[in-house]
């Protein structure tokens, strides 16, 4: 089953990002929300994406902009909260890594 992993904290301060990346399977998606947007350049995330290039990674553009976070890496897909609702129904289940 394809899972949506919602990351809401910075991986520099919390182990939630690392735990998520240990659990993520190639068919899954990752969504960076709230302080999760601070992970856009996190080495752990970028390393995982190199190993599992099939992963889809989304971030809430409003949350990233508010925090002056951005990425030039076009693997990251900027979305709105309305699109998050769609993502929830496209995936079989979700875990929130706060």
């Amino acid at each position: 089953m394809a899972m949506l992993h919602i990351i809401r904290s910075s991986g520099y301060n919390s182990s939630a990002l690392a735990q998520c990346l240990d659990m993520v399977l190639p068919q899954d998606s990752i969504l960076l929300m709230d302080d999760g947007c601070y992970n856009l350049s996190h080495k752990l995330l970028l390393d995982t994406l190199e190993k599992k290039p099939e992963l889809s990674v989304y971030f809430i553009s409003l949350h990233a902009d508010a925090r002056a976070q951005f990425s030039t890496n076009n693997i990251f897909i900027a979305i709105t909260l309305t699109e998050v609702v769609t993502l929830l129904f496209k995936h079989d289940n979700s875990i929130t890594w706060s």
Binding site: I6, D34, L81, T82, V85, L88, S94
Partner: protein, 125 residues
């Protein structure tokens, strides 16, 4: 058929994480999803505190929940055990004595079981 969604909120009312939950509920309702309930658990129960006083130039979390309940009919369920542990009490016979805002339905973990089983998707925020 309309998609159904339930949410579990565990974050405090003075956290911007709760604002995200509120905005997600609104986005869901506005895109035609039926939000069958929001369940408040852990520190999330503090969202129901009616005496919470947030400076008027800051984000008014409680007003937003009231609006979601009144305008969109989103049911708000409170885990009373978790609430009482955090200083909230309901006085069913005397609204003035209750410290819980009346838009919240006092319930227990059984309600979480119901929502989990009924909703097509559940998201914890």
């Amino acid at each position: 058929m309309q998609n159904t969604l339930a949410l579990v909120v565990t974050t405090q009312p003075n956290s911007n994480l709760t604002t995200t939950a509120i905005n997600l509920v609104r986005a869901a309702v506005e895109s035609g999803v039926s939000v069958i309930g929001v369940f408040f658990y852990q520190d999330g129960v503090l969202n129901a505190a009616k005496h919470l006083s947030i400076p008027s130039d800051e984000y008014q979390t409680l007003k937003q929940w009231q609006q979601l309940n009144r305008e969109y009919g989103v049911p708000l369920y409170l885990c009373i055990t978790a609430a009482e542990k955090r200083g909230l009490s309901d006085e069913l016979n005397n609204l003035e004595l209750s410290s819980i805002d009346p838009v919240f339905t006092v319930s227990g973990l059984g309600e979480l079981v119901e929502l989990t089983s009924k909703a097509e998707r559940v998201v914890q925020l």
